[in-house]
């Protein structure tokens, strides 16, 4: 009897392990809807590392989530920024649009100032100015 229960438990564990495979992305070359090319992206952290550049001084404001979608053949980005500091922070941000050849698909955007309350999240969105833009970078510049 004891053996039967042990076998059932082992079978259940094996089944659970089989189902809990690593999350795959629905489209090759894309992660969370964002273009990734040949980059090895297996988590949101990897995606943020690949797409977010920080310039200037170190800041407590961090991108925590990026999602992309195509809206009428233009790449659209939603990026969540988080200020986990107990102080109001100011930051500038812009998107850089990249074409299929890895060149700039559009001229550099204007820096957009942003005020973030203490311990808050803010979603910044943008849409590519041209359908030639197939990739992007979110650039953060601290104002501290």
């Amino acid at each position: 009897m004891k053996w039967t229960w042990t076998i059932i438990a082992l079978l259940a564990a094996a089944l659970a392990a089989g189902c809990a495979h690593k999350k795959g992305f629905e489209k090759p070359g894309f992660a969370y809807g964002c273009p990734i090319g040949d980059a090895k992206i297996s988590s949101m952290e990897d995606l943020i590392k690949a797409k977010v550049l920080t310039e200037g001084k170190r800041t407590t404001i961090q991108a925590t989530e990026i999602r992309c979608t195509m809206t009428s053949d233009h790449l659209r980005i939603d990026a969540n920024l988080n200020n986990d500091s107990s102080k109001v922070k100011r930051i500038n941000y812009k998107f850089r649009w990249i074409d299929r050849e890895g060149m700039r698909a559009w001229e550099e955007e204007v820096w957009k100032p942003l005020l973030m309350y203490e311990n808050s999240n803010l979603m910044v969105s943008s849409i590519a100015p041209t359908n030639k833009a197939v990739d992007f970078r979110l650039i953060l510049l601290s104002q501290e």
Partner: protein, 196 residues
Amino acid sequence: MTYPSHTRRLALLPLVAVALAAGCAQEKTHYGDEKAVETVTNQFGSTDLQMIAESMTRSMLQTPIIVSGNLPIVTVQEVKNKTSEYIDTRSITDSIRAELQKSGKVRFAVDAAAMQQQVEELQRQQSELYEKEQAAEKGKMVGAQYRMEGNITSIVKQAKDVKDVYYKFNLQLWNIRNGLLEWTDEKQIRKTTSKG
């Protein structure tokens, strides 16, 4: 009343110091980043203009009449300045027009402001100075299907040490044939200046 000579010399010292300081305070000029956030004063500035143009262009490019790919023909009309300060609204619409034209999804017909020059050029080409076959003919201009107009308003509040300015820029795209509003969007900007 006469002062001793050394007292007179001492009295001249501050004047000499001021003159020297003025002479040393040289002006420095350098090029800056035209896309940088400008916060010299809280009046309407280059960052506001660029943010408005960028935001309006991106939004307008998503409107169905532009997405359809039919290359709609638009004419630019006035953006009314309803704020208390001087704003060159033509500069804002020029930036929006440049971005839209660059996208290759919109065409622009000559607007009222440029009509005089357009007519003059047509008439000049109709003169005997030009070869008839190559000269631009009258009656061939294409009318716009849509007109773009808008307004900018502001609310200014000022207390002892704080000045708060809120701008609201509204842009609309009207169908000239049927008078329908095809697209509209707003960009809001708040700037606060505090002393100390």
